[in-house]
């Protein structure tokens, strides 16, 4: 592993006519990392990926792969390979020929092709299926063929456009695990596009969050979850209660705030915040709140409320609690330790909150 980034985007933009699909995107990827581009539909993820692959030329900025400027270099001469969202399995060829396609194109000697194809199919657990017709594959098998067909080329970077979105939930979770495992053992850089936050979080070393063509935050999953840079990112990743607050004082990594409903709290400063300000939006994850019948001790702030809604998820239970001074009910998530749902709609409860678990999200949007 070297220090030069395997992929470097500097100020890359792409416009279609007057429409800016990707703007001023700058990003450096380390060799061997699993990177995900996460964002809502239409935010420009695919466009960004296709500029790296060479299917689209950026209208501004510069794409470098392994230190080489990629301007004017077509997809067939880039050290990247792609797994397409539709998988793009060649329908007129069997599995073996699909996987061998790129090697034949490179005029690799025949015996070596056979060996590498077998090895690649083994890798995706399709060993021995060379002869199977492309039209006779299940969705999961097609996904694996697409993966094998790209990996057999031994690319420096593997690009994946929503590779799992066509699979059902169970298979998707299994493939997430397998792909992560494969990526670690091969040490190839993976760049994956997804709009599924859980997929991005479970698989990636780092995640880049995109909105409206802009890369808003790049961080590892834990940081992204704990220190999102604004309310939009916070609401896209996991669940979040948004509570308006006032910053009253600031000192060495701590903020003194007054949160609606909860009152005065000392909370950690968030170094990622985009626009700090006096009136800040505060984020509280539902699982960070304590819910109890009696006023809980050892919390920095406690408040009374009324349960307005109960949702049972199996592994945990969500209560919506109406609290004076907060417009929307506060969501509280409790692990389902003892298979009981302790509170019902209309119950009077207490909520407990630790200042350290409150996230400063910066200047309020509205």
């Amino acid at each position: 592993m070297t220090d030069t980034p395997i992929i470097s985007l500097s100020n890359v933009g792409k416009s279609f006519g007057s429409f800016q699909a990707v703007s001023a995107m700058s990003l450096e990827l380390k060799e061997g990392e699993f990177f995900s581009l996460l964002g809502p539909s239409g935010c420009g993820k695919t466009t960004a990926l296709r500029m790296i692959a060479g299917f689209q030329e950026p209208t501004q900025g510069r794409v470098e792969i392994d230190g080489r400027d990629m301007a004017g270099i077509p997809a067939n001469r880039r050290p990247t390979n792609m797994v397409f969202q539709s998988y793009a399995i060649f329908p007129h060829r069997n599995v073996g020929d699909n996987v061998a396609y790129g090697l034949r194109s490179q005029k690799v000697p025949k015996p070596e092709i056979a060996a590498r194809v077998a090895e690649a199919l083994e890798m995706v657990e399709l060993g021995g299926l060379e002869r199977r017709g492309a039209t006779e594959l299940s969705g999961g098998q097609r996904q694996r063929v697409a993966l094998a067909r790209a990996l057999v080329m031994r690319p420096r970077v593997l690009l994946l456009d929503e590779p799992l979105s066509a699979l059902d939930k169970k298979l998707r979770e299994q493939m997430q695990f397998e792909m992560r495992h494969l990526q670690r053992s091969l040490g190839i850089t993976f760049v994956m596009v997804t709009h599924d936050q859980y997929e991005a979080m479970t698989m990636s070393d780092r995640i880049g969050v995109m909105f409206d063509g802009r890369l808003v935050q790049v961080d590892d999953p834990a940081t992204l979850y704990a220190r999102p840079c604004n309310s939009k990112v916070a609401s896209f990743i996991g669940e979040m209660n948004f509570i308006p607050g006032e910053v009253t004082a600031e000192s060495s990594g701590k903020l003194s705030v007054t949160a609606a409903g909860f009152g005065a709290l000392a909370i950690p400063a968030n170094p990622n915040v985009e626009t700090p300000g006096k009136s800040a939006m505060l984020g509280i994850r539902p699982e960070q709140l304590e819910i109890a019948k009696a006023q809980p001790a050892d919390y920095d702030a406690t408040v009374r409320g009324t349960v307005s809604d109960v949702a049972f998820y199996g592994e945990n239970v969500h209560y919506h609690v109406q609290v004076d001074g907060i417009d929307r009910p506060v969501a509280v998530s409790v692990p389902n330790y003892f298979h009981t749902v302790d509170y019902r709609q209309g119950d009077q409860v207490w909520l407990g909150l630790l200042g350290d678990s409150v996230i400063d999200l910066g200047q309020q949007d509205q």
């Binding site: 692959a53 060479g54 299917f55 077509p74 997809a75 067939n76 001469r77 990247t80 390979n81 792609m82 397409f84 969202q85 539709s86 998988y87 793009a88 399995i89 060649f90 329908p91 007129h92 396609y101 790129g102 194109s105 490179q106 492309a134 039209t135 594959l137 097609r142 067909r149 790209a150 080329m153």
Partner: protein
């Protein structure tokens, strides 16, 4: 939901009106009498047997086969590029140019034929089979374009991108991926355009000069009552061939649509 019962009867009458006359052709081609009228005198295969011995007929058939094959290949090759452009790219005037390509479907044949005759003569091209080939290519182009367009509509663009991604250049991608995947559509187009040319009369009549195609030859024979049964036999064979060809073409067209994984 029940359909109004009159509608079914109407549909059958309509079909009978359309196709019954066509059925008279093979029926009377087996009639041993030379007059085309009921009752049928007796059954014979003589009219079919005599066909093989008629040299001018064989020559006309050869002309038609040649014209049909060349214009089928030309219109399909041109249609291939046009269809790919229409389905893949949005460009200025694409709708207009597509409309123009489809025009021969609606312009009366006699107008196309006479204007082509004038055009070719003014260009110094005498009526000949070459002229017929050019005319038929023009007539068959809309059929080729619409069949191939549906083949390209069903073609996942990312197949070509995948080929590029795996190291193929533009030309290799076309040969190794695009062409094989839409091959059934190409076969369908060749068969249909061949049939269009093979059956065509008006243009061939204007442009063929002294080397008639089969339909022109048949027309010239119809004037002689004695030759009529032969012509009926020939017509029946052509009918059978056309139907077979179109059935095969339809089979390939459907296969093209299904090829998407």
């Amino acid at each position: 939901m029940r359909r109004p019962s009159g509608l079914t009867a109407y549909a059958f009458l309509y079909l009978a009106f359309l196709y019954l006359p066509v059925l008279f052709l093979p029926l009377f081609s087996f009639n041993s009498g030379t007059i085309v009228a009921f009752p049928i005198k007796g059954w014979t295969l003589d009219w079919y047997r005599q066909l093989g011995a008629q040299d001018t007929l064989i020559q006309a058939l050869a002309n038609s086969l040649m014209v049909g094959m060349v214009s089928a290949l030309m219109s399909t090759a041109m249609g291939l590029f046009a269809a790919r452009a229409y389905t893949r790219y949005r460009f200025q005037g694409s709708a207009a140019s597509e409309g123009l390509v489809m025009l021969p479907l609606v312009v009366p044949g006699i107008i196309v034929a006479s204007s082509m005759l004038v055009l070719f003569i003014s260009l110094g091209l005498k009526p000949s089979l070459t002229a017929v080939i050019l005319g038929h290519t023009f007539l068959a182009l809309p059929f080729a374009v619409s069949i191939l367009k549906s083949a390209f509509d069903d073609f996942d663009v990312s197949l070509e991108e995948a080929a590029r991604d795996l190291g193929s250049g533009v030309i290799e991608t076309f040969w190794r991926v695009t062409l094989p995947v839409i091959a059934p559509g190409i076969v369908a187009s060749i068969l249909v355009t061949f049939t269009v040319s093979f059956d065509e009369f008006v243009l061939a009549f204007f442009l063929s000069g002294n080397r008639p195609t089969l339909p022109v030859y048949i027309w010239s024979q119809i004037r002689f009552p004695a030759k009529l049964p032969n012509t009926l036999a020939l017509g029946s064979l052509l009918l059978l061939a056309s139907i077979l060809l179109l059935v095969v073409a339809e089979y390939f067209r459907r296969r093209a649509t299904k090829s998407r994984v």
